[in-house]
Assembly symmetry: C2
Homo-oligomer: 251 residues x 2
């Protein structure tokens, strides 16, 4: 089981924090222990340690919730990464232009992890998904933009070990067809996804490359499918593509 020589406790702590942050309220020791499938006493010890630096807050009712120290880490990420601040004005420009929601995602651990968002000003908006959430590459516009920019061997490696499980009725399930898609995306400069990740949601995205032309992130436009047709995709696809290139140049 243990391939790498990782530290088990840290792994558990990270999972604990992930669980705690996924909840909107506080959680008890027993509940967490059950979820993580580790003994209560171990869970309790981890929580005590995390409480010492306010990573976790010990509520009055005896339960636990996220503590304010994670804010320190979070702002540390923004600074050290840099990409959030660079991309932000471009996202805002695209939002003002399209009146739709824009996302920034980074390519991390074989997933697209969504790190910034600029909201649509319209009344019909999207369900708010949390910053830091990971999304698969094969069914999202941001992910596909990244895939399209990856070297061919990395794409085949990805497809070999990833099952394209359908997220909606429209999700492309054939690796062969997906590869063809990626070729088309490379030509047109932006990637697409039409209700393949979530019902009634359509999305286009462009990859952000580092100095080695390797994809490190992607920006994407997300809209309700009823007000975003092929013509819109084409119109804003070019702008997404241009913005992504501009951000790449600034890195």
């Amino acid at each position: 089981m243990k391939k790498t020589n990782r530290v088990e406790v840290i792994k558990k702590s990270v999972d604990l924090l992930k669980y705690l942050s996924s909840k909107n309220s506080s959680a008890g020791v027993t509940e967490i222990a059950r979820y993580l499938a580790i003994p209560k006493s171990t869970t309790h010890r981890i929580l005590l340690t995390l409480c010492e630096d306010n990573v976790v807050h010990h509520c009055e009712n005896g339960q636990y919730r996220m503590g304010p120290t994670v804010l320190l880490w979070s702002s540390g990420y923004r600074f050290s990464s840099g990409i959030v601040d660079i991309a932000r004005p471009w996202l805002e420009r695209l939002r003002d232009d399209s009146r739709e929601t824009l996302h920034l995602s980074v390519y991390e651990g074989g997933m697209a992890q969504y790190v910034d968002r600029v909201d649509s000003p319209q009344t019909v908006v999207l369900r708010w998904s949390r910053l830091g959430t990971s999304m698969p590459l094969y069914c999202t516009a941001a992910g596909r933009a990244i895939l399209a920019a990856l070297p061919a061997d990395e794409v085949t490696a990805y497809l070999d070990k990833t099952e394209l499980e359908p997220r909606t009725a429209n999700t492309e399930k054939s690796p062969v067809k997906l590869v063809k898609m990626l070729a088309r995306f490379r030509v047109q400069g932006y990637a697409e996804e039409n209700q393949e990740n979530e019902e009634n949601i359509r999305c286009i995205g462009g990859a952000i490359l580092n100095h080695d032309s390797y994809p490190v992130a992607a920006i994407s436009l997300t809209a309700p499918a009823f007000r975003f047709n092929d013509a819109d995709a084409q119109k804003f696809g070019g702008k997404i593509s241009a913005a992504a290139r501009a951000i790449s140049a600034q890195l």
Copy 2:
């Protein structure tokens, strides 16, 4: 030394993340190990484990920096805490009214940990300190507001174990005088601090109480001393106080 049965590795990991987030760039294994005063191999093992979930990011140059997963935790804090979203509109209202910078800090581990900020629209603004930063209670307006709202025995306990080390030439060093100050703050409903935490910076604050009238947080107004006199303090002190009470009621 080790009183509580905490997990040593987790403590080290937390310190590592704190250090990493304090840097604006990436850091190497050797540098981190030297700072934490732990062996390089241990540091490296911790980093590897944290990388597995993108808590830290392994850069191309071999160094390490904060990873995007901390964003997930950070948004988890905002949700589970609730206080940030509740206080935000009040902070904005006070900012619009005073044209100065407003802060929200939570009382955690004997410190005031600053969790939200709304910026002044004026041209002379303040140095941006990072979200999640901890500040002492005795020399900040937010901290003093919290102290003034604490039960008497907890205040004496605090003063017994805390040295009032001067942060500027103006910092109040006498515990006796500080206690008298707190009495005045209780009467007037808001706390003050005049260039006692930082040169040329003046500050007023009000405590946010839970249902047991125990202080859990504070809001504070921070301004350059040259444009914020006693009359301003009095004028906005009342408003700070009222806003703090309103937020307390909403909790």
